[in-house]
């Protein structure tokens, strides 16, 4: 209260924000503060702490031997074949699954947007893979590939051992990932589809454009921003892949992702130093991906508009 009185006094001397404006600013800050504090406390501080941990030799099995070792952990990790295998695997899974998801997602988006029969039904069932617990779906795939007792294993052949050979195991992981996230991709794309004006399509049609031409020449350009946002989100998400690999193969046969490696070093190996080093490296990798999308491809990060608005 004293503040407002103060403001009134000073208002005579120089132009100050009106009382309503001040109240608005104060309310805005107050309303945002709790969310901001929680997010900073749980992400900002730990990531700094994680950088510090990554510069330590810190193995929980030998807690007495904790000491500052500089960049030794980074040298250890980056000169390690396992890390690069995991990195390559993660990149491969990310690129292939996001590419498939884009194609399938676009098809599903078109179906959801244009189907004349049972639109509600299609949208409802598509949300099942999105909503289902990833681990639950992963178990379903695992049991489906289990030799002799799974329907997919039976389909492939009597002596199939899909999850125990590298290429087939990776394919199974990608299939599980694609199944789960295509509907989400489709929903994001559908929102872009809704922005394509019907008049434009009709005009193109009148000018003699076929279905494929209307798709590539009219729809895709209008949808480009939506496509980029969907790709950005899915790429970052796919790069963090963990659940499906954990359940399907446990990371064996070189199918482990960088997240799996970090988990193994931290929880199974209890090596906080190395685990944190990997955490920091993954953080940097994700930052690079986001940077490339936003700066190079010009993806309009969602929310970047609203800040200016």
């Amino acid at each position: 209260m004293s503040l407002t009185v103060d403001a009134k006094h000073r208002a005579t001397a120089k132009p100050v924000l009106s009382e309503g404006k001040r109240a608005e600013r104060r309310l805005g800050l107050l309303l945002c503060a709790p969310a901001a504090i929680v997010m900073i406390a749980v992400t900002g501080w730990p990531i700094i702490y994680s950088v510090w941990l990554s510069l330590q030799r810190y193995d929980l099995r030998f807690p007495g031997k904790q000491e500052f070792v500089g960049l030794t952990n980074y040298v250890t990790v980056l000169s390690n074949g396992y890390w690069w295998t995991a990195f390559g695997t993660t990149a491969l899974i990310t690129v292939i699954s996001v590419a498939i998801e884009l194609v399938l997602g676009m098809a599903l988006a078109l179906v959801m947007h244009r189907t004349l029969v049972g639109r509600g039904l299609v949208r409802t069932v598509s949300l099942i893979p999105y909503g289902i617990v990833t681990v639950v779906a992963a178990f379903s795939w695992k049991f489906a590939w289990t030799p002799s007792s799974g329907y997919l294993a039976t389909l492939v052949g009597p002596n199939s051992a899909v999850l125990t050979e590298k290429v087939s195991a990776l394919s199974a992981i990608i299939l599980a990932e694609v199944w789960k996230t295509t509907p989400f991709m489709a929903l994001l794309l559908m929102a872009g589809l809704a922005l394509v004006p019907d008049d434009l399509l009709r005009a193109a049609s009148m000018d003699g454009a076929g279905g494929w031409q209307r798709f590539t020449k009219v729809m895709l350009p209008v949808m480009k921003p939506a496509i980029l946002v969907a790709l950005l989100f899915r790429t970052l998400d796919a790069f963090r892949i963990f659940d499906n690999i954990f359940i399907l193969t446990g990371g064996s046969q070189g199918t482990g992702s960088v997240s799996m490696q970090t988990y193994d070093n931290l929880i199974r190996g209890l090596n906080l130093g190395i685990g944190s080093t990997m955490s920091v490296l993954i953080f940097i990798a994700v930052a690079v991906i986001a940077f490339v999308f936003i700066k190079v491809f010009g993806t309009a990060a969602p929310g970047s508009d609203s800040g200016r608005r």
């Binding site: 099942i128 178990f139 994001l188 963990f242 906080l272």
Partner: protein
């Protein structure tokens, strides 16, 4: 415009069937395994040849699943409630108020949304151990709130922009403070958006596996997705497949209910938050 010829109808029906099969097969497979009897669980048939409720009886008779279920429900509900309340406050401010640091907050939540969660596992593991939060409910609720907040803020601020704000102005003209306008006029109008956001946030928390398996150690706070790993069957040598599937079906029920009853809202929430931003 929508003249349905028989040919079109057949074509769309076929496409619809493909989508339905695609979406439901893995779910039905789990359902089928959960209802197979112990003798037939390895027979490879997609439809149970011998129906049995034994797997369900098994999981509800041991503590492992029940405790995990209580953990899952409690942790997800609390995290959802807190995230939605904090998110609503922040989203209202972002959508409506002019204040310094708004762009920074939007940018920061975007950062959090893109944040690789595994990067937090190592430091949180260490921090929570020293704060005695490791293997407790708050130990999971905190990261869940954090990663749910960007989702909540984006979805809600998109919803809030659609609200007729003249009403707020009218309330202010009648002498309401911004705070009162928020509580008395806007909150009721915003309820549907808040509800939708709550569903999305709940699904997110309910789904988590990485934090659940890294930041818990016992049944004290282990949620169902993490607990499924540790199912061993009634005896040590028994195959736990049936029980895992029964538990999987149980935790899928809320998702199916949400999807069945709130399909429209979920679609609107997911698309508005991501694209209109």
């Amino acid at each position: 415009m929508a003249v349905l010829t028989t040919g079109k109808r057949v074509r769309w029906t076929v496409i619809d069937v493909i989508v339905v099969v695609y979406a439901l097969v893995p779910v039905l497979w789990t359902l089928s395994l959960s209802f197979k009897s112990k003798a037939t669980i390895g027979d490879g048939y997609f439809i149970p040849q011998e129906w049995s409720f034994q797997s369900y009886l098994d999981i509800f008779q041991t503590n492992d699943f029940l405790l995990a279920l209580v953990n899952s429900i409690g942790i997800s509900l609390i995290a959802t409630a807190v995230a939605v309340v904090l998110g609503t406050m922040a989203a209202y401010a972002i959508a409506r108020l002019d204040f310094p640091g708004k762009a920074a907050l939007v940018g920061f939540s975007l950062l959090v949304a893109m944040f690789p969660q595994v990067s937090l596992v190592s430091p949180l593991f260490s921090i929570e151990r020293s704060l005695n939060l490791f293997d407790t409910w708050p130990g999971l609720i905190l990261p869940y709130i954090t990663f749910a907040l960007p989702l909540a803020i984006y979805t809600l601020s998109a919803f809030f922009r659609e609200i007729p704000w003249e009403l707020e102005k009218a309330a202010k003209m009648d002498g309401a403070t911004p705070g009162q306008a928020f509580r008395r006029v806007i909150a009721p109008l915003a309820a549907p958006g808040v509800f939708t956001t709550a569903i999305l946030v709940f699904i997110f928390c309910w789904n988590d596996f990485l934090f659940a398996i890294s930041l818990t150690a016992t049944t004290r706070s282990r949620t169902v997705p993490a607990a499924l790993q540790f199912f061993t069957g009634a005896s040590q040598f028994e195959d736990p497949t049936g029980q895992i599937c029964a538990a999987a079906v149980v935790i899928t029920i809320p998702i199916v209910l949400f999807v069945l009853f709130f399909q429209r809202r979920i679609v609107a929430g997911l698309t508005s938050g991501a694209v209109k931003g």
